[in-house]
Symmetry: D2
Subunit: 272 residues, 4 copies
């Protein structure tokens, strides 16, 4: 199965590059499963129904979130009817929305897309390790899902790597998000799980995490907020991960970073 | 000036790959300035005098450190006579050792190597922004130094990017360390400063941050330590950054990640 | 029911004052239920079987713990047979020991003693609110327990107060521990739960949290450890909480701080 | 010198109790120096010029602040002309306002009032220990100031106690603020400095830190904000610290908590 994941879309620039590129890349690379992290799509903070729907329309199979999942108030409402919108599974039980979705592909194969939040240097959510354990037991690879992709939204590289190895052989892909910086540590672990610590954001890389540089620098140097964070408006660079799995095992055979745009070194999967 | 920086050496595996590769790379790429982060060189925790000297002997011009600077007790003593060992400059005044060193190159040019620690999700050190401001005023690029390299040892990508832009045009290179994961966001900022959020470690990438996987995973899942962290012993991958500066301006002209070894995708500077 | 709780015993000084005073106070005040927090009893870090047994022998009905629960390696073993040793209930499922104990009093009444850890500025444990909800449903006040005491071991006053109000009317006593400083905010909430943000430690108050002052001050000023933390050895002050509940409702009728010793202002329950 | 300090005023209830009580207590106890922490006086977040002036008018000699110092935008402007408004001294150099003020008392004596912020579990400010060292050298007790009061605004009891002992003998009073909970650990240290870990707030103690209980509890249990924090509106309890110093030494002779109001146990200085 050919899988393409795009990291956190930040603001209008990030949405635009995703909407422009998704149809083209789906076709060109014959993508089977395309997942996008949308936690910063609405002005940098959360997502709304229009944006969610536009992403599904252009070809996303699922949209994952993170710590900004509920920044837009309307999300608490529309998330229930947004069947392919996935918020971190380790919110408390009873939280609106879903923590994973079993996507049916065009040809009848199934892929499980799960979203989890790390806890190191982040809010105290339920245990993502224990929760993954349960979910993977309930929907084991190859039995109910031909592929399993987990978007692990976290800060610390230690926790992300530990999680990747923890599910090695039980998930097809563990892709980190949240730092808004692509890492270059993509590899296929010994058990067959494709792993990267962070997919990076889709946004303007002449910025601080996709936001205008001025206010963040001021807060670091002056310790007093003097305005709001606004998404940077320069041309966006698209960052993500491409993985090809073996349908016989559900495990990864090939992995490549994806990077298309004006500011970072270009990177395309050589195997497609 | 041709600059090569190698990220945190972790344990014996990390030291070995650095010691094996430094002489070869220096010669092959005609490196003028070679800097290594050694904060995890001694069994994963700090550095000792033997290791420091062996790194200088094989060709490092300076060795930087980080939050593990003083993990080995002997460091408090030998750091005073280790003239090219640089600990974070934002330790409290009076801390043994130095926060920057002006290296004289073989041909008489000078390079300033500075080490700073971030404060987001890390210990509360002195302000690295204010300190860089002062240091750069005292030793401005092109006046007293032909090149300035700052190893910014930090956790949060926001703080690293903010710092990079803060000194943009005033330093030749800002290279992040500490997360032990190479990022792929290397670029030359508008003002001419070469930047990468993290150089990655030199160590075994079948590991968690260069350490054996078992104990870290156990701590995340069980919340009870059951042993010590030990460096992983598999073959190391070398990770770093290559930058070429323009001697007329002291600013960066070319930038490339460097990655050599068994587990991560290989990457070499195309311009040398 | 007359309940006496003593805060974190720190080192030899803390143990001594507890062992000296428990028999006397039990008799003098006709205590029905006496609970002690022992997480720092063994040299400041954790507890061992000898200490646990000596506390039970002199008259403690239960010993609670906290983030230092497993600092002594032997605890993982003896905790299973230590029937009145209670570690935080929100360790991951499968952790040795128990998170609550139903104590049978001398006259056949029962008291539930529970231990929970906060998560704000502390390690990411399971949700203490959700867990308390479940435990209180399984063992409701007056049905299976004549009184319920919860030792909430946490750092942030916001989380402690929120927890206290969350279980108000469902627990007899919520007593905070961990900061090693007694608070003076004891009150009976509207629903009938007795509450204090922190009971304070039993230890030498000419110290920093019960430990020798020199090393902690050095770490704050120099940012480099230069030795181990050692319990202060001056005469200890005993700190705790006294609560009297109404057996008809299981709720609190009277509350008083308890403070006996050389350094802090003395405080005794006026109602006994 | 007779010194009265009142902890963080929270919202209208906190302001009211302070304004009602200050004139009465000043007269009754013949207070020489009266200091109030006002960081939460304006709706729970910061302070404005009207509130500042009303506090000075009723008899406060100085108003200290904390991490909420600049929550109200107007503070950046009026703080320069508010000569007795003291924000934490360890904001970066160049921050508007002052970190200490030398108050001239009615009879010509002088008292230095300083405000500092802790860094443990708080934002990364400049080093409060180093800064106190410098300030106390520049304005030593008995030479330029007859008394020195430091409001140390911090979260962790370890840092507050370490700071207290660090300046023991060099300041008259170290009074902690920020946790909004009064501690009962007031004592005069060996060197003569009066110390308490926290003065507690002036506000409604049927609340969470002075704010309505509902929203904070919801955030702890659901992890999604669903509204703003609003000050609780019940009758406030006044909390603070009373200290009497010896003018010959500038050091403390007597110390007592102060607590007046409907919800916490009343406490008045017995020595006045
Ligand atoms: Fe994001
Ligand atoms: Fe995020
Ligand atoms: Fe490191
Ligand atoms: Fe580090
Ligand atoms: Fe403790
Ligand atoms: Fe504790
Ligand atoms: Fe406050
Ligand atoms: Fe505060």
């Amino acid at each position: 199965m050919r899988i393409l994941f795009l990291g956190d879309l930040v603001g209008r620039a990030g949405r635009q590059v995703a909407i422009d590129q998704i149809p083209r890349l789906r076709t060109k690379w014959k993508i089977d499963l395309l997942v996008v992290n949308g936690e910063n799509a609405a002005g940098g903070f959360g997502i709304n129904e229009d944006i969610y729907e536009s992403l599904i329309e252009v070809g996303a199979d699922a949209v994952t979130l993170g710590n900004h999942a509920f920044d837009q108030r309307e999300t608490l409402v529309f998330i229930e009817r947004a069947e392919r919108l996935v918020r971190p599974a380790n919110y408390p039980p009873g939280t609106p929305g879903r923590g994973s979705v079993l996507v049916e592909l065009h040809d009848g194969r199934h892929a499980l897309v799960m979203n989890l939040m790390g806890r190191t240097y982040m809010d105290a959510m339920d245990d993502p390790f224990a929760l993954a354990e349960r979910e993977l037991a309930a929907c084991p690879l190859r039995h109910r899902a031909d592929a399993i992709l987990i978007d692990f939204h976290g800060e610390a590289t230690s926790e992300k790597q530990a999680f990747g190895h923890f599910v090695d052989g039980r998930a097809s892909v563990v892709v980190g998000t949240h730092t808004h910086v692509p890492t270059a540590d993509q590899q296929i672990f010994a058990g067959g799980t494709a792993y990267i610590s962070d997919a990076g954001m889709c946004g303007d890389y002449d910025s601080i995490l996709g936001m205008d540089k001025e206010e963040p620098i001021r807060r670091f140097t002056r310790k007093i907020p003097s305005g709001r964070f606004e998404p940077a408006t320069g041309e966006a660079t698209l960052c993500g991960l491409a993985v090809e799995t073996d349908d016989a095992t559900g495990l990864a055979m090939r992995i490549s970073r994806v990077c298309i745009g004006p500011r970072l070194e270009s990177c395309l999967p050589k195997f497609w």
